[in-house]
Symmetry: C2
Subunit: 545 residues, 2 copies
């Protein structure tokens, strides 16, 4: 990946030809971002739409308008750049995900999430790679080697669950939300790791030792990336706690949190680790420790500033993908044989559907085997929702496809050109068509009324006895309130959930005795006692976590 | 100016050679930014240092270390890019300046500020241009044409008052602060406009009509840029007020404010106006209307997020200038004749001192002529402080010098190379040496004790009768409290200040009757009545403005 900071900008100056043209496109783009926000707000109540699809459609429409104005020659106002995506747009989204995630739910379902995210992605990868190699033979799509097929597998295993998450509600369906959400993060990381491994390993002769090496490499990346994120997060907590005691300065704190978060991502890239995983865990640690060490204003500011950055980056990506899709140069090769491109896209879409099904349903059954309580099992309707949530393909697929198929110049080879256009087709089709159907489907499968009685009771009942262990004593009243809602006998379930109970218990003990005194965190930072603002804002914000 | 968005990034990918090298430099840079924040915090109590100098010194040290490690070959980790500066770093700083400025003080001193910022800069420009042409003849600095000398005048008229503003206190010396601050903004705009005018006008034969055209162009730019900023700000206020009534969404609001602010800057660039002026006035309008239309959380978030962005951008710039200064390539030409470079730098520094003196002292006297109250006059000690405040040269000078003298390749001509290194020398010397002397000088000229009795009484006394006009009725109690502090008879002063009084009165009437009902603003947005947080945060924040 290239990093477009100053040394590259210098080169850039020499190659840039139409300066004012860039100002025009930048203006257009920022104005369109504003339009997306306003229109997205107006369509919020709509039955089908969500913000992502709005941005994508606006981007497409703009592309069409530009194409018409330029007389069918050019819609080249923006060309998708994987650098822009991986260096500037993805980190804030993933960091914010870690920062805002409900940590209890996430860690309780950690094994299931890893199963779906890592093993599920591998299953999809194998099915799509093998399927593409078999089916493309009949279509005559130009020269693709084994590395290209494996890359296709990695490209189309990268799900984009933004649409689904905009529809699912973290409070109404916490289990489903945390599964889909957590799987999305692990899936992104797995796909990127897989993709990099494919590009770096020698694939001409695949042997058992190479496969083992591959698995070892994957585990190494997973553990080290996580550790790096945790260490950076703890370091930020430590610095802010040690230095700012008593004399808080909001701007410095916020700046330090933003910079340390970004540093964690860049450090991971420096050591060839997975920046996505690192920045995700950095976000989790920062929300658990650092966030409690800063002033009240900093707490409000970081919470909303991170969410806003993530929001802008998301809209940016969808608008970007939409505007780039109509770039006329890419479609030049396809025009001569439109049927072939449709064929390839359909094959890939079919493989995506099958690969996802082949990973979700068996793995759900496997996960259910280990859960003895019927309320922790993943029901069939929930399985369908999880399956559906991973059908959309988004910016990660685009970025990886560009990396693989545009290396030597701009889609010069016919095979490469078809792969790029097919990726765009799959991304557009899956996001728009599958995305539009998501809201109605979720409403059909998980109806609002029964849902609030069935699904809510499920995670709130473990909460009723795990809360005292997870929280400080001050929140006991909340847990007591939760109990009367569930009339079932809790003794059996108490026993069944003992393992996670025990782990949580020891973690909490460790956290209270060793971690919090050093790194701060809720209850370990002195507050201004008399301030009503302090208390009310603090409580409200911390309860949301 | 080139705008490095996607189309350029595509080109970039092809020219980038060492990807991982960029990751290394990016890591180093972000880590250094963190270090600057922490060290700046630790040195806060120090008598001499401030954050800017810390960043500059850290940048220089890093440059030295890299130079040693690379065996004297290269410190090329970061090369100053005017695009990065003008497109990404300057807008947040100027916008935040407008957003946080005390509007009353700023507008009361508007004429004096414009006098210093516009006329003063022109005087400096003329003196430095003429002086350089006369004195450089004796030094034999290579081929420079009349355009180059005029550009030098514009480059070294651009002050950088960040150092001074870090030392002056807005509450203790409000008159001085608003003069230095306001002058800085107008000065930046004037220099950039001058510079662009020099590059676009035909300078081979200067006639009266060209000078008139030039002045007309300047006034046109000033007025249209201001109008554009005001209109964009009002539009943002209108959109947020109309759309978000009742159902506020913090992330959308904050995103819209950030994007609209940036849009105002880019629109100004699109129409070849002064983006600096536009985004400054957009900030003022947004803090007067838009900021009151958003939720409480958005208010806290925007206030601190803008300040943080500006803070990071400032440190970034100084670190950047420091690291770039040791780039070995630029000094190659100088090595052969070090005396010449020192001579040129000394001449330029001398011209800066003289040019600044020739504008500040006469213009202060001129301004004092129109002020009849002795408390509104600028005393000699204050004049020295203003003179000193404008001696530092910073990133704007660097950016303009790069634009003028590196156009064809990288400082190929000997004259150009000497100009670049001299600019770096002047920037470093003035920032570090003059910057280090600022704190002691200000303490010497404006001692804390007498200052709080002399200077504070001066602006708080007009406040005692203008406040009811400037504020809604709800703040009358504050104004009443102010009155008993001043024992002087107010009748004469009341009469003398009538002009500004009257303008304020009619503006307030107009604002209350026409503007606020449409665009919102303090007192025109319904609050949640019972919320103590709402009230306390709102009051605290709005009192700061």
């Amino acid at each position: 990946m290239a990093f477009p900071l100053a040394p590259l900008l210098m080169k850039l100056q020499m190659v840039s030809t139409s300066d004012h043209g860039s100002v025009v496109s930048m203006n257009l783009f920022v104005a369109l971002l504003c339009a997306c926000i306003v229109i997205g707000h107006l369509l919020e109540e709509n039955r089908w739409m969500n913000e992502s699809i709005t941005a994508l459609v606006i981007g497409l429409c703009t592309g069409v308008v530009i194409l018409l104005f330029s007389g069918g020659k050019n819609s080249h106002i923006l060309v998708f750049s994987e650098d822009l995506f991986f260096i500037y747009l993805l980190p804030p989204i993933i960091f914010n995900a870690g920062f805002q995630v409900k940590k209890k739910q996430f860690f309780r379902n950690f094994m299931t999430i890893t199963l779906f995210g890592a093993v599920g992605t591998l299953i999809s990868f194998v099915i799509i790679s093998l399927g593409a190699r078999e089916l493309f033979k009949k279509l005559d799509v130009g020269s693709l080697d084994v590395g290209d097929y494996l890359a296709l597998g990695a490209i189309f295993s990268a799900t984009d669950s933004v649409c689904t998450l905009q529809v699912l509600n973290q409070d109404e369906t916490p289990l489903l939300y945390s599964l889909v959400f957590g799987e999305g993060v692990v899936n992104d990381a797995t796909s990127v790791v897989l993709f990099n491994a494919i590009q770096s390993f020698d694939l001409s002769h695949i042997s058992t030792s190479i496969v083992l090496q591959f698995v070892g490499n994957f585990l190494y990346l997973f553990v080290t990336s996580t550790m790096l994120g945790v260490i950076t997060g703890l370091l930020s907590a430590f610095i802010i706690k040690k230095l700012y005691i008593g004399r808080h300065s909001t701007d410095r704190e916020v700046a330090l949190m933003i910079l340390m978060a970004y540093l964690s991502y860049m450090l991971a890239e420096l050591f060839y680790l997975s920046g996505i995983l690192t920045v995700f865990f950095c976000g989790i640690v920062m929300s658990h420790y650092t966030w409690h060490n800063v002033t009240e204003s900093s707490r409000v500011t970081t919470k909303h500033a991170f969410a806003t950055l993530s929001f802008i980056a998301e809209i940016f990506i969808f608008l970007y993908v939409g505007m780039d899709a109509l770039d006329i140069e890419k479609w030049r090769f396809v025009r001569s044989s439109p049927g072939k491109s449709v064929g390839v896209s359909s094959v890939l879409l079919g493989l995506v559907l099958v690969g996802r099904a082949a990973s979700v349903f068996p793995l759900s059954s496997l996960s259910n085997l280990f859960k003895k309580s019927p309320h922790e099992k993943i029901h069939f309707k929930q399985q369908i929702t999880i399956w559906w949530a991973g059908l959309m393909r988004g910016a990660v697929s685009m970025a990886l496809a560009y990396n693989q198929f545009t290396r030597s110049g701009h889609t010069q080879l016919r095979g490469n050109a078809i792969m790029i256009t097919s990726t765009i087709t799959v991304v557009l089709f899956s996001t728009v068509v599958f995305g539009l159907l998501t809201k109605p489907l979720v409403r059909l499968l998980l109806p609002q009324k029964p849902l609030s009685s069935i699904v809510i009771s499920e995670p709130s009942s473990p909460k009723s006895f795990t809360t005292p262990l997870l929280e400080n004593g001050q929140h006991d009243s909340e847990a007591d309130l939760g109990r009367p809602i569930i009339p079932r006998p809790t003794s059996l379930r108490m026993l069944l959930s003992t393992p996670s109970h025990t782990v949580h218990h020891y973690w909490r003990k460790f956290d209270d005795r060793f971690m919090r005194p050093v790194f701060g965190g809720r209850g370990f930072v002195p507050f201004v006692p008399g301030s009503p603002t302090e208390r009310s804002v603090h409580q409200r914000l911390s309860e949301e976590n």
